[in-house]
């Protein structure tokens, strides 16, 4: 089965109770599909998205083998 890796950071990691999970890529076309697969709640405002470590949006295409990450606004520096 081809899979997509989903990662969570900071407050999103705490809310999901895990830092990473695998989902079946079948039926997933974009980031919004990934979110609805892992969470019943609507996509939270201000949440950032990365696909393979590049910033992306809910409409961005996702393929088998991709790593999709969800996290809050960054606060480094």
């Amino acid at each position: 089965m081809s899979r997509i890796t989903v990662r969570y950071f900071a407050s999103l990691r705490e809310q999901h109770g895990r830092d990473e999970e695998q989902v079946d890529a079948a039926g997933i076309r974009c980031v919004a599909d990934v979110w609805s697969r892992v969470c019943v709640a609507p996509f939270p405002a201000n949440t950032l998205i990365a696909i393979n470590q590049e910033y992306a949006s809910l409409a961005s295409a996702v393929r088998a083998g991709d790593e999709v990450a969800f996290f809050p606004p960054v606060t480094g520096g």
Binding site: R7, F9, A10, S11, A50, Q53, E54, Y55, A69, F71, P72, P73, V74, T75, G76, G77
Partner: protein, 145 residues
């Protein structure tokens, strides 16, 4: 162009001295300006006491974006070199979090690039601060300054 993301504490003054001795020696006489920014952990934030902090990051994506930001600065201004060192993991008040430095022939490019590097880092590099306060752990909200 050097990027370091590390768990270990660092002394920014010693890092700059070492970098000058190992790298800047190659372009001695070419640079007339060095601009630097050091960000350190305060013991207060948004009205409450802070006794410590843990910096979470996204390994790989962090380095990739710091490299991208540095490359953008080199494309925009005539720079001889840039340096970014950023901590992750547990930190205590007074400890340096980040060092950014830029070397150029004239000061305008060095000042502008240094400012660009720290400003872009703050909005694009995937780091998250969690403070230890008297009320417990608290994720820091994004800041405009």
């Amino acid at each position: 162009m050097t990027i370091r993301v590390q768990k270990d504490g660092f002394n920014p003054w010693r890092e700059l001295e070492a970098y000058q001795e190992t790298h800047a020696v190659d372009w001695a006489g070419q640079y007339g300006a060095t601009a630097m920014f050091i960000g350190s952990l305060r013991d207060f934030n948004q009205g409450h006491a802070v006794s410590g902090m843990t910096l979470e990051h996204y390994p790989g994506m962090t380095e990739r974006h710091l490299e991208k930001i540095s490359a953008e600065a080199h494309a925009r201004w005539e720079l001889l070199d840039t340096l970014i060192i950023h901590r992750y993991g547990p930190l205590f008040p007074g400890e340096p979090i980040v060092l950014v430095a830029a070397w150029s022939a004239h000061r305008d490019a060095a000042f502008a690039a240094c400012r660009y590097l720290i400003d872009e880092l703050k909005t694009r590099a995937p780091f998250w601060k969690q403070e230890t306060t008297p009320d417990g752990l608290r994720w820091v909200e994004e800041s405009k300054s």
